[in-house]
Symmetry: C2
Subunit: 335 residues, 2 copies
């Protein structure tokens, strides 16, 4: 039975739901990065043989779902619910993939925090006795996101140093109540934070305060400290936001220490073409379900907190001169 | 403790969460319709004094949240979670309202099914012991939706008879585990259904099969029949979809009977300017939290099932020649 830590926004899962299986499917650029060997599949073609990048993104997402279920020997009819979202207007990657899967569906939107939001709702459904198996999935695609949020890539606009590069990647996790897999022990739900940043070319700066807010709440609510985790990852503040988060947490008396890293940096390493680092729903999903879960399975990491960060702007809100509200959700994973 | 009816997509809430308080805030057109006297507030100005309809929509939504909390004597800090979504790209109405509320936030997207999706997740959080009070809210606005999905209203495009009219309305429900209020007894989660309809001017036809799929599952899973309910409402199939749903259910051996109606028809009555009827996330929310809950509170209805229906298209998916996948979620409400 779940416990909501009284008066907080943190769940403690007493009989922790577990990640029975998970998957990561990435594009060609991601498949040449430093984490290449950790992903299940790297598709050499951005377009995955499709005529539009939106259709390609769906294939990445569907593959991720099928691989996660396949590893667990599960079929769609064995899965009670499919929780998914993505960056596209009306989350069409998630919803159209829902047609193919035929699994009862709850659509979510948290921008790049979607991987954590989905995992939290999946864990709640399993821990609360509402489901046996829940699939939480998300995706992003460089081309679909660039043309929706910024410019068609054909324009070849020069990137600013604070820009992040939307990952072409999808990830899925099959959460269950059985005894196998990585445990989901705690989760902290984020508040929407607006600290006045309005530069849509600097998402890291916009998202860092939301990450600080959620991580601070997580440490306070659980009584844990950063040093209690082998790895703390944000996903995805990248280089600009990472430093800001470290500063913000230092000022709050909770220095992040040496075990802190960011999915947007881990995914691409020092590749200068991505500017500040990676972003997109698929970034934290692929890094978590590919790299981190592998290290945990191999015993190299025992306790990890993944804090996925989302910038909740739309191109319209930016055009209307609005700030960028952000949210971050975090999930503790333990062997 | 919740019960997931084994092998189904229906939840049975054994100690049912309840709607402690709820609210409906509507625009000038809705405030002149047949349900006018049931809404908490009717704002005489579509724009609610703002420069853009997007900012106006947020004010409708924020008012709905504040009114629901106010009726219960609750402040934002008394509410554990805020579950919300809307029709706008990146659900900016819900997210930007989250900044003002400061309540931990889970963003959802189910198009016009959002009212039911939010109520389901709220009920799950309360029933599973994850929260004491959860606010589920949604909104839509005629001007924001028309210019995003179809044409700027300044063009004055002639409506087709199958068109629906997006309601300017917001609704919120404060769900809790205490002994007061309307009980949420069952919920059935929808699958994404694509029956090949691709006409974005005929959402009712696209959504009817999803409503039939979910309602049929609901009746099968619960062992109930349409005649067990004093009222079955879909929200919002309107005139075209309502007849299709009746046909589809008749063919499945579960005729909908005389207690069936649709929120999109109830909201505007015979007003010819809305063509087939109303739509939008705010339509089913305002009709449910204004009209239906009032009738239940007055003892005129005892058992209602609300099946909110959503068309999961984006303008881009339509331009790319895709069909319109749809989903419907339903919730049983009992005195």
């Amino acid at each position: 039975m779940a416990v909501h830590i009284q008066g907080t926004r943190t769940f403690k899962f007493s009989l922790p739901p577990r990640i029975l299986a998970c998957s990561s499917v990435v594009g060609p650029k991601e498949g040449k990065g430093p984490l290449a060997s950790y992903f299940d599949v790297s598709i050499p073609d951005d377009m995955y043989g499709e005529q539009t990048p939106e259709k390609a993104e769906r294939k990445y997402l569907l593959d991720a779902c099928n691989i996660a279920m396949g590893k667990a020997g599960a079929k769609p009819e064995d899965v009670n619910f499919y929780i998914a979202g993505d960056l596209l207007n009306q989350i069409i990657a998630a919803s159209f993939t829902g047609v193919k899967l035929g699994i009862p569906y709850l659509g979510i939107y948290g921008a790049c925090s979607t991987a954590a939001e989905g995992l939290i709702i999946a864990a709640v459904l399993v821990d609360g006795g509402f489901a046996d198996k829940v699939l939480a999935a998300t995706s992003s695609h460089y081309q679909t996101a660039e043309r929706q949020y910024r410019y068609p890539i054909e324009l070849n606009i020069k990137r600013k140093p604070t820009n992040q590069y939307t990952a072409t990647a999808a990830g899925a996790a099959l959460v269950h109540g059985g005894p196998q897999g990585i445990r989901i022990t705690y989760a902290t739900v984020g508040k929407v934070v607006d600290m006045g940043v309005s530069d849509a070319n600097n998402m890291g700066a916009a998202m860092a305060p939301a990450a600080a807010d959620t991580l601070y709440a997580h440490f306070t609510d659980t009584g844990r400290r950063p040093e209690d985790y082998d790895l703390i990852v944000t996903g995805d503040l990248s280089r600009v936001g990472k430093v800001l988060l470290q500063d913000l947490m230092e000022h709050r008396g909770v220095p992040m220490g040496n075990n802190y890293d960011d999915c947007g940096i881990l995914l691409y390493g020092d590749d200068p073409s991505v500017a500040a680092g990676g972003s997109g729903c698929g970034c934290s999903a692929a890094v978590t379900y590919g790299y981190i879960v592998r290290l945990m399975t191999e015993g190299k990491l025992k306790r990890v907190v993944m804090c996925a960060t989302g910038a909740l702007l739309s191109p319209l809100s930016t055009q209307q001169g609005e700030n960028i509200p952000c949210v971050a959700h975090c999930v503790s994973l333990e062997v």
